[in-house]
Symmetry: C2
Amino acid sequence: MGWGDLGAFGEPSKETPNLDQMAAEGMLFLDFYTANPLCSPSRAALLTGRLPVRNGFYTTNGHARNAYTPQDIVGGIPDSELLLPELLKKAGYTNKIVGKWHLGHRPQFHPLRHGFDEWFGSPNCHFGPYNSTEQPNIPVYRDWDMVGRYYEDFKIDLKTGEANLTQLYLQEALDFISKQQASQQPFFLYWAIDATHAPVYASKHFLGTSQRGLYGDAVREIDDSVGKLLKHLQQLGISENTFVFFTSDNGAALISAPKQGGSNGPFLCGKQTTFEGGMREPAIAWWPGHIPAGGVSHQLGSVMDLFSTSLSLAGLQPPSDRQIDGIDLLPVILQGKLIDRPIFYYRGNELMAARAGLYKAHYWTWSNSWEEHSKGIDFCPGQSVAGVTTHTQEEHTYLPLLFHLGRDPGEKYPLSFASEEYQRAVEHISGLVQQHKATLVPGQPQLNVCDQAVMNWSPPGCEKLGKCLKAPESAPKKCSWPH
Amino acid sequence: MGWGDLGAFGEPSKETPNLDQMAAEGMLFLDFYTANPLCSPSRAALLTGRLPVRNGFYTTNGHARNAYTPQDIVGGIPDSELLLPELLKKAGYTNKIVGKWHLGHRPQFHPLRHGFDEWFGSPNCHFGPYNSTEQPNIPVYRDWDMVGRYYEDFKIDLKTGEANLTQLYLQEALDFISKQQASQQPFFLYWAIDATHAPVYASKHFLGTSQRGLYGDAVREIDDSVGKLLKHLQQLGISENTFVFFTSDNGAALISAPKQGGSNGPFLCGKQTTFEGGMREPAIAWWPGHIPAGGVSHQLGSVMDLFSTSLSLAGLQPPSDRQIDGIDLLPVILQGKLIDRPIFYYRGNELMAARAGLYKAHYWTWSNSWEEHSKGIDFCPGQSVAGVTTHTQEEHTYLPLLFHLGRDPGEKYPLSFASEEYQRAVEHISGLVQQHKATLVPGQPQLNVCDQAVMNWSPPGCEKLGKCLKAPESAPKKCSWPH
């Protein structure tokens, strides 16, 4: 989902009344970022509070390449990483993930091995359907065991776009909240639904209800679900004791537009890129009785801050034996403070850009290669900024492209290298970047090796269901990451 | 000002709390249009309820060219046109225009000859400063007589961007409202300020207060002024008896970006074009106690509807001896109805495009000429859609380009000519266009002839001020309209 997909963020069909209401009752973050313009690294960053380059969710197979966790990925979240639910457990929290895990699907990466107590959802994206010979369909798990596979047991009709998965995920969340409220236990719910990711789906009730087509139908179903979740908290009388945060894992995938792709509002390009369209996210904090209604914050925020903020809410300290990139947003949310901190825009192993205040400096520019572009893969459809949306990887380390995101949110007008404004801002940002790089210890890259043998052929529980498949022989190879 | 310039419409710095509050208390129109992507024709359309091609505010000097009323224009609003204030007079209204008139500056076009009772403002744009030999500075009028000139008596500091004009215009409006309330007289106030038009200015108090630079400062001053106007109505106890509508005369002028140009949100191109960025406008209706708070309407609306709606509010009928293009929006505003009507996108003498429902058909495409483009004049900076943002005038009459503005608000993905959806939608829209053209009687074009002699050399009142200038000899010529 993109920054521009919500009514509160200016989507022209304004079909998200519940999310807009959530914003009106809570606080809207206008300058909130993911840690990487792709799903897996973004989610790894959220749960560890650390940049993907630290937690291992990146590749060194190519320079500045996006990588994630397809079925043949060998790596996943390392045991050495401390995940938010692992830490919350110490404060008595019960942790549930509903939806897409995406931090590795091999047994050692199972979410219940990494702090979650419950899981209903899938380890990978809902791609498919596969014929079970080249690739198996993605399994859906309930806790330790798979309970079926997408397309086979959990239907997704690619022709009509119908699937009731978001409804299943909603019900899981409602039930979990009810259970926790009944037992008076504190809880962390990570509602990581995979709707609006292509192939886009919505349940029957929502199909055809949006001005925006199937993608809009999916957004409307999410909006409706969030409304039901918030209402549920209110009806159970725990809304004033429950902190809720809504955001996305990367910008809208314009490659899937117009039928399956969303909106990044006035920003440049989309998912896969380190332009604003790829990394700036819709974000809303909600906590009635604590967050002043109708607040708007220009705090530079990150999904990694949800790690630190959640720990703070639980009265816990972040781990002190490692670098944490997230910051505690509670002073921002509760007291309207602004914390001075940079935003680092990574693509794979490369720091492409950095933002401080309203200035953003690009040290590298790249949309995608000419080769990919000529195949019709376009991360910036209809947009073209000379020297900025480049199709070759362009280095600007010694003379970064600088944009003022207030006057120029669309990153169309690089500031003159000769201007005093440029000198001052670049000096400041480059200082922060040097400091960052000097102390950076990259983690072991987890997304370098792929192997058909590790696919979801026989996930735990497949025996009971008679759904075990025979894996091919192991043939590890370098994963190919063209973007 | 553009569609995307208000927080409520998704401007990322969200600095318009008063307009956003106005929207929260009133009704937001998301699909509201001007009648032409340029100032003079748009304002003529608003005040006559008629398309510029009918009321004469267009040129035939070139095909599909934008024209307006610079100082050397000979034409202006014809006497045969009935303006909103002329009609409102019959219902006892006192009418005031504050700000830019722009319907012709020669004596016969004076607003007090066309229904207004009071005027404080200028006949033309606040361009300048001029040295009074080639061109005089634009006069500012109080009612019949000029009271000074821009830059000379009404300062605009082009270096700092400081000018207190919006404050003067605000005070005029507040005083007029107070006077009318005191005398219990109904009133029509046309608050047609010229801020955010380049050269952009703001008063000292607002300079440097926006994240967006000088343009944002100007927006913030307008926002603050609107807030004060609404508060004034409330304090006088007449807010429930006063209908207020906020909108703009064309899309943001991206040619002036990033320092002096605004935002058209997710839409294509800007002012001067018939893409959405040129003609879709921010629009808010406000009338406490009558309009349900927080309403959102997808009614296709037009500035021309303000003519018909205002008449309706005054209990008057629109003239029956001529074609009126505006419709009465009261059923939409008060009862949430949707009225089926097309939107026609004109550029000069040509119907470039038409919208019905969510479909928009382009019969002609043009951004601007290669010649102008090569001079750096760009109405679509950073945007380029092959075959759509063309630099030659491309005719598509027999096979219009069709866009679905719900799925594709940015007009990036023309529908396939072969699709059933295309056939159905084009048949419908082209039928409406044929019907429109068959009955269209174009007015005498007013914007064809220019003459240096008609400039504001010696406006009425210049003698008293000692500010009369000698006009050159008359030398009428065809006006040059390159866009």
